[in-house]
Subunit: 198 residues, 2 copies
């Protein structure tokens, strides 16, 4: 690679640090940017440098925002006694497409000791303080249904017992439109265990 | 998406312009950079802004370089009468891993009218001027074996007829380690047509 100028190898190296982008894709992306008329290295570069500019985390729910509080937390028409706990800001965007009208709390990750993610690296303290301050009647844990998400959910339930009337978890089961034939074993087990009367 | 601050949507938008990165991947990459300890938006951002800094194109072969001429073109031990024409700088890196000891010419793309890539958008004039100036006995066209690559090869052969003693094309056929059972029809046809005596 010594044939390539160092600033190009540096860009390739930085791209390679991204999830799902290997050295070959990183090379392709770098040269695409050098050549493309639509995208440009400066365009993406400046966007990335500005990405944290004026970026704040809502003092209540930790959602990314430009103000002290996000538009959801200042909305008095919503039910702030219900708090939906999610892993990241995009989960809030996803739930906002449903008819959910409560509040949120963004953890900015999940417990994952192997990646060095403990409760201190997440917005756990903020969640517990918020619940202990009162006014929250239900905490709905909406972490992903995987090992880390389940562990995070258990941890939250454990910490909040006694502070909040109700700590719930999103239902697990077959997703809409799924084909039972191709559903995995764990999903089928959860779907059976969580069966409801028709 | 109006829930997300504009600088985040801007970064997502810029990522989406890259080949193979859809809106969902772009979101994932942006939030990964905001949260990751290994990669950072500033790291990639600065690398991309610097990528064109002091970057030059070799006046002879158009390879990316920091000097007026690249290290290959100034190397007097190489055979500069042989010019291997490639689509992009990474192809030079690939050929440098072989025992090829001639010179190169980087087109920075291929003819592709649908993408607005004509001879003027490529380093064609530089190639033809170089060949007409004399001293080049063989031009080996090493564009990719696809529709655009083949069209580009024909165009070069056509333009150089009479100016260069020999214009050749890389051999097409089965790649080493291939399984004939799974080879495509066109490759097999080319392999048959290009058969050599053992």
């Amino acid at each position: 690679m010594s044939l390539l100028p160092p600033q190009i190898t540096k860009a390739i190296e930085e791209f390679s640090k991204l999830p799902g982008i290997g050295p070959k894709s990183a090379e392709r992306l770098t040269f695409h940017l050098l050549r493309s008329s639509k995208a440009s290295p400066e365009g993406l570069g400046n966007a990335l440098i500005n990405v944290k500019n004026e970026l704040k985390y809502c003092t209540t729910c930790q959602m990314v925002t430009l103000q002290e509080q996000c538009s959801i937390c200042v909305d008095t028409t919503r039910d702030h006694s219900q708090v939906l706990v999610v892993e990241n800001p995009l989960d809030v965007v996803a739930f906002e497409k449903t008819s959910y009208k409560g509040a949120y709390h963004v953890l900015h990750g999940v417990l994952s000791p192997i990646d060095g993610m403990g409760p201190e690296q997440l917005k756990m303290k903020e969640l517990f303080d918020r619940c202990r301050a009162g006014g929250v009647s239900e905490v709905i844990v909406a972490t992903n249904p995987d090992v880390e998400g389940e562990a995070t959910a258990s941890y939250i339930r454990q910490q909040l017992t006694g502070n909040v009337a109700s700590v719930t978890r999103l239902a697990h089961g077959l997703p809409m439109g799924a084909d039972i034939e191709f559903a995995d074993q764990t999903t089928l087990k959860e779907a059976l265990a969580g069966r409801r009367s028709l």
